[in-house]
């Protein structure tokens, strides 16, 4: 197996694994955040706007982790730094 194939396999597998594993944590965290927000809304309905706003801000922070994983996997697929280098090397040979 030459290095081009190896780099391709590693990039594709890592990209898939990154986004798959990287979405588990944020999804669980967001579920807990929404559940707590709902129970506190049930306890104090007149603080609804504050709770909703804080919930949205918290969800966006948690979502960023999933977004980082998505960006890494997109970089591996579309803007792979090693791929360009190895193709240039193979073309130069």
């Amino acid at each position: 197996m030459d290095s081009t194939t190896l780099i391709a396999i590693a990039s594709i597998v890592t990209a898939g694994l990154t986004i798959a594993l990287g979405s588990i944590g944020p999804a669980l965290g967001e579920g807990r955040a929404v559940a707590t927000a709902l129970s506190s809304l049930a306890q104090q309905p007149d603080a609804a706007t504050t709770i909703t706003r804080t919930l949205c801000v918290g969800l966006a922070m948690i979502e960023s982790i999933a977004i980082y994983c998505f960006v890494v996997s997109m970089i591996l697929i579309f803007a792979n730094p090693f791929w360009g280098h190895i193709i240039a090397q193979a073309a130069g040979k």
Binding site: T50, C56, I67, Y68
Partner: protein, 231 residues
């Protein structure tokens, strides 16, 4: 597969490139500036006012109330910066309904520039409110050991602002592009509606986070005595 509007080149002269990001940013700036200028040419304070003026007033008072809720005491000082951040990012995401348009916030350059503006604005407002010594002293709170951590947290939250907005915008356009090659027409419309929603939420998040950072930098360190009589 285009990763960002940086790759749409409209015009090129040597190394000066007029790419999609720059052109769409100029278009947004033009719409915001000229639109506001046209609407505010004839302001009226009576009950009868044009609907555009009503729209602008709703937007401005809404943003002022949000800034005040975050804890900044004189929202008029900050609404220029924070309001512009919100309106730019929101309009950039709303205009995706126009065919042929790519949001300039889908390019890391634009979001990095916006995050750098926030990075510069936080010490600016902090020093304006508390003086240079007072602001620098906030870095060694609660103990001197926290100094490197405070500095690192400043840098990392700027980076997080940029990557969060970039990731959300880029993923929206990319999922749309991928879906259009698979199932044209119905499913991409649902995804583009979701993209609009996340665009507005991200605009709100960006400006609220900027407001929270500025609020934490301008927070009074010693509790001031509130006047006994509140007007």
């Amino acid at each position: 597969m285009r990763l960002s509007p940086d790759e749409m080149i409209f015009w090129q002269l040597g190394f000066l490139k007029l790419n999609g990001t720059i052109v769409f940013t100029w278009g947004l700036m033009f719409v915001l500036a000229v639109g506001s200028m046209l609407i505010t040419r004839k302001l009226s304070t009576e009950l009868k006012r044009s609907r555009w003026q009503n729209l602008l007033e709703i937007v401005v008072t809404g943003i002022e109330k949000q800034i005040e809720d975050v804890g900044l005491r004189h929202p008029k000082k900050y609404i220029g910066f924070l309001g512009t951040l919100f309106l730019f990012v929101a309009l950039a995401s709303l205009c995706t309904v126009i065919p042929g348009y790519e949001p300039p916030t889908g390019s890391l350059s634009t979001t990095a520039a916006l995050a750098l503006c926030v990075f510069v604005a936080v010490p600016f407002f902090g020093i304006e409110e508390q003086g240079l010594g007072g602001y620098l002293k906030s870095y060694v709170e609660p103990t001197v050991i926290m100094l490197p951590f405070n500095i690192i947290s400043e840098l990392s939250r700027t980076l997080a602002l940029a990557v969060r907005l970039f990731g959300n915008m880029m993923s929206g356009t990319m999922i749309l592009a991928i879906l259009l090659t698979i199932t044209p027409f119905i499913f991409p419309i649902a995804m583009s509606a979701l993209g609009l929603l996340t665009g507005m939420v991200q605009a709100y998040i960006f400006s609220i986070l900027a407001a929270v950072y500025i609020a934490s930098a301008t927070r009074a360190r010693k509790p001031k005595l509130e006047p006994a009589v509140r007007g």
